[in-house]
Amino acid sequence: MPDLGEPAALTVLTGAGGWFGRAWLRAHAAPQHRHGPVPTGRVRALAGSPGEVTGILEACPGAEVHVGDVVDPEVLQTLFAGAEGAVVVHAAGVIHPRRVDEFARVNVGGTRAVLEQARSAGVRRLVHVSSNSAFGVNPTPTDRFRHEEPFRPYLGYGASKAAAEAEVRAAHDPGTLETVVVRPPWFYGPWQPVRQTTFFTMVAAGRFPVMGSGAQQRSMVHVDNLVQGAALAARVSDVGGDAFWVADARPYPMAEIVRTVAEVLADEGYLVARSRLPGAVPGGRRVPALVARGAERLDRLLQSRGRYQQELHVLGEMDKTIACDIAYTRERLGYEPEVELREGMREAVRWCRQRGIALAPRADGAR
């Protein structure tokens, strides 16, 4: 087990209203073994908009909540007031914006602004939440992104995350501000946003396309596994300036992901159109990989004109393998992911049910 430094008295979290942000806050409020060494001190959370405040307080009633744009220096000055010796977890970013220029403004500009303010506030360590998108897609289904990997960004989002990660790593300064990068792939788990709910709904309705053979692999990370990775990145000594893949223990074939979601939904009492589930079950319909390629081309075209279309973007990625190797993360951070696909998806489905988020008709006819 690597050496853990002293826990920080204050943690500052940006992107607090997001999927990971709320999972992190929940772990703060109710730590479990799976979360690793989540700091127990005070937590200060930056919400991007007022609408995120209730979600943040639901996850962590004791959080100190700030609201504002992560690129606004005045917002950040207040956020970092008296944050000397604090740990910053920088998770603010946009994934599916309306316009492509939001990527650079928020993901790059926001990161730059946070680094600057964190440095002048005397923050001890900054953990930056990056993304697999900075590394593009794997060239073969068996390929894995290694710890050291050249940036090969996938379109606008990837380019912005690559630029941000590069800035964070360059900003590492052992005497003053230490920076550590965590790179999560596709999330799942509680606190999920609408786009993941849409995924569940499509699977339940048998409308989620499995492109090509379904053998393409996806690394996924349960948000609580990611919390553990980020918590370790915030605490483990001598990892400043480094970057770590944080994912579940193994990548999953796309067909397994879809099948697991379908099975979990059925187990949890939802009506699932299993017979019509393309690709994931025998006899199901597969969609030719050509569809994904067409979508990818269209996505590139639109993005080159400054526009962004979420469905197209997601479809364009569906025939690709996006998988990483977490061996280095295990070794250097002592990271041991505890949640696995089926159990984690079950948690996500139950979380939706508890909040009255409709996923599919219920087998028992209830809402």
Binding site: G136, P139, T140, R146, H147, F151, R152
Partner: protein, 463 residues
């Protein structure tokens, strides 16, 4: 001309193993070789002169396609073993299992092949390097260590010599053994066709005259063997040609790295077998060649810059396949290759990883070898430089040709699990054509062990 027990067409590793084993078994053996015999060391390694004397078509062969892939075949006594780098890899159990499964090959698991690998290793004196890595290899090792990527200095068939280690070749080992055991070698003799009648081969036709033989073993390489069978009326599609498409980068360092007489034997295996990164021959002429692929003038390059420059490569296991077609009236077969989308993606990825590695190794400037390539000096340049390598711009090459006559019991296969041609009772194939796929490593060691295995079966007569 007298009659033989065995005529072996080709004196490369497959042919030499066959000839030696047959001669040692007391058979009358003739080895027919199209190229000339050049004593090892008589011409500088990787030189134009070597291309002239020891390569087919002076090394100017190309598989047509989009993009075309330049490839090389040896044409000399000893075949590819005379001109290659002599790097030796054992095949993995997974690779042999996959081949056994996909092509229904009998007795091709690692335990089956292992004894033969041992025989080959002993004879070729395969050994690792003693002492420090030379600079071009050291750069790769340094980059790999910094990135935490696995790699190794690949063992080589070599014996210590004055200055550079002397690479082992067929003319120094198996072919010499064969001749010592009584085999005859006819150099400068091209086999026009095999004399096949009623499911039997009677001999080989050289310069219009038939040399008769009880058995014929074709070992002319993955391009020439299927072409010869096609010319002889044996129904062979010529499909299945597998290569290791390779993209190159010229790396410039602050210090001298280039040893024109040798190449880097270190290989990065982190992404193997799909992707291998390594060093290529880097004589000044080859550096100029790599630079000219970019469509740039080399006029601006300082004349002595080559000492600080070295050519490195990223080679992939390709999903694409090629085809060899013998065309009436043409002496040389037409070779085509279809690179898949996935191959191109893997090549781009390989190029990116190679450049990342070389920057980590301290390269100050990288010049990817494709048309219109940008110069790379920082990590931020890597992605655009890799992405810009499109089909129309790529300049690819390959050695390691295999796959045109895969062994196995699969229906429609031309040869059986032991290399015997199904429709012709006394005809065998025993060279790299038999390997079902490009293995992601230098295939010569694997091929020689399989050749041993096959000829053993042939001699025991239950084949």
């Amino acid at each position: 001309m007298s009659s033989y027990d065995v005529v072996v067409v080709g004196s490369g590793p497959g042919g030499s193993v066959t000839a030696r084993e047959c001669a040692r078994a007391g058979l009358r053996v003739l080895v027919v070789e199209e190229g000339e015999r050049v004593e090892p060391g008589a011409v500088p390694a990787y030189s134009l002169e070597q291309m002239r004397r020891q390569y087919r078509n002076q090394g100017l062969t190309v598989a047509l396609g989009r993009p075309p892939i330049a490839y090389t075949e040896a044409a000399c006594a000893g075949g590819g073993s005379e001109v290659n780098s002599g790097l030796y890899h054992r095949p993995s159990a997974e690779l042999l299992d996959a081949w056994s499964r996909e092509h229904a090959v009998e007795a091709l698991t690692l335990p089956d092949v292992e004894p033969w690998l041992g025989t080959v290793e002993d004879r070729l004196q395969v050994q690792g390097r003693a002492g420090e890595l030379p600079p071009a290899s050291a750069a790769l090792a340094r980059g790999a260590e910094r990135l935490g990527w696995a790699g190794l200095d690949v063992p080589r068939w070599a014996v210590p010599g004055p200055g550079h280690p002397e690479k082992q070749t067929m003319t120094r080992t198996y072919l010499a053994d064969a001749l010592e055991a009584g085999a005859e070698l006819a150099c400068g003799s091209r086999v026009d066709r095999l004399d096949v009648h009623d499911g039997r081969v009677r001999g080989v036709v050289v310069a219009g005259r038939t040399v008769t033989s009880e058995r014929v073993v074709v070992a002319a390489g993955a391009v020439q063997s299927p072409a010869l069978l096609q010319r002889s009326g044996v129904p062979v599609s010529g499909r299945g040609l597998a290569v290791h498409p390779t993209v190159k980068v010229v790396a410039e360092f602050a210090e001298d790295v280039n040893d024109p007489a040798d190449l880097a034997t270190y290989q990065v295996k982190e992404f193997a077998p799909a992707l291998t990164l390594g060093g290529s021959a880097s004589r000044p002429s080859l550096i100029a060649l790599a630079l000219s692929e970019r469509g740039w003038s080399v006029a601006g390059e300082p004349r002595e810059a080559w000492r600080r420059q070295q050519v490195y490569y990223a080679a992939i296991r390709s999903r694409g396949r090629g085809r060899v077609r013998s065309v009436p009236g043409f002496r040389d077969p037409v070779v085509t290759y279809r690179l898949t989308r996935e191959d191109l993606a893997l090549l781009r990825s390989g190029l990116a990883r190679l450049m990342h590695l070389l920057l980590a190794a301290g390269a100050t400037r990288l010049l990817p070898s494709y048309a219109g390539a940008m110069t790379v000096t920082t990590n931020a340049d890597v992605a655009p430089a890799a992405a810009a390598m499109t089909r129309s711009r790529a300049a690819l090459m390959s050695v390691h040709l295999t796959g045109t006559l895969p062994l196995g019991e699969r229906r429609g296969g031309v040869v059986d699990s032991w290399g015997r041609v199904r429709d012709v009772t006394n005809l065998w194939v025993n060279d790299a054509s038999l390997l079902p796929d490009a293995p992601g490593i230098n295939p010569q060691g694997t091929l020689m062990a399989i050749a041993h295995r096959n000829v053993d079966r042939l001699l025991r007569g239950d084949g």
